[in-house]
Symmetry: C3
Subunit: 138 residues, 3 copies
């Protein structure tokens, strides 16, 4: 069994952002030289996430609106977690969206359907944060 590990760093300009990192993940996969196996990609912070969906800006805006509807950022005092921090909504939003993605590796490629793209979801940005890429296989 071979294994591969890499950290990817992000620093968004706004509190919330969605970033398509599919090409960076593919670069990791090529570097790993693993042809058959499983790729795990997870946020290493608890206010950001990984998810797979369509690279369409209107849809990403719809996700933003949906998340603000069910777990709004403000007023800050609606959350017990807030006080020293103001990011309780970010913890909840990332949980709805999912911490990690697991992707099949077949013939050295991400084994994806026609529209699948891997996104980093940031919900408490403007600082350096990490994503872990781990691949096992052979």
């Amino acid at each position: 069994m071979k294994s591969y590990r890499k950290e990817l760093w992000f620093n968004t300009n706004s509190r919330r952002d969605f970033i398509n990192i599919t090409s960076e993940i593919i670069k990791c996969l090529k570097e790993s030289e693993i042809k058959e196996g499983i790729l795990l990609c997870n946020a290493m912070h608890i206010t950001s996430n990984m998810f797979i969906n369509d690279a369409e800006q209107g849809l990403l805006n719809d996700f933003e609106r949906f998340l603000e509807k069910v777990a709004p950022e403000k007023p800050y005092d609606q959350y017990e977690h807030n006080g020293f921090e103001d990011n309780a909504d970010a913890h909840i939003k990332r949980t709805i969206m999912g911490r990690e993605v697991v992707v099949a590796i077949t013939d050295g490629n991400l084994d994806f359907g026609p529209w699948e793209q891997i996104f980093y979801g940031e919900f408490d940005g403007k600082r350096r944060k990490r994503v872990l890429v781990k691949i096992i296989g052979e």
Copy 2:
């Protein structure tokens, strides 16, 4: 390490549907001859999903109602993604429900608790769509 890959195809009669595919997944597992490892099953489309829950029709209806409450299909123009398409709600619903399931394989079986069943969740159906089954182990 052994690996196994199979695509399963679905074409639902309605826009939304939940289909219990546990027996088809077990068939894949037997075919793979893998006894110890991990099974990944994911939708290959971004408006459908995989999830594990109870095979009880009342509960499946409750999921449908819950999803329509938090991310309703209509009016279509509440979503920026809609226009050429009308399925923004389907992208959101599948994200709430989760894209993939990862299941332990022990002694050649799905290592499940008493009520766990694997479901395909369709949120924009009436056309042919795929699910990927990938198993690694030995």
Copy 3:
């Protein structure tokens, strides 16, 4: 490839509870002697779940309130599943929170960011229920 399997049992005093089980998972990992690979931890019941977040009681209370807002326990008759049972809300809550977590194993440790902790989420407790820990690697 090595593989390891363990069941962890829980019996909460209240219907809903969040329990930090990170130290128990680390004990499993040490026992497995696996240094590189993947750890899967999933609820074996369909009304409980595993998730990764911050060990902060205020935040856990915020999760409880959020889940009660979007999928309230009562009135019981709002759910078709209820009748003989009263736990439809628990099935929905566990689905929002996610059934399983997948964690990278590197150098014999959980490959975690600074605040990641593994929680068992109970939504229909006061009885003995199980979690599965499965590790593959070498």
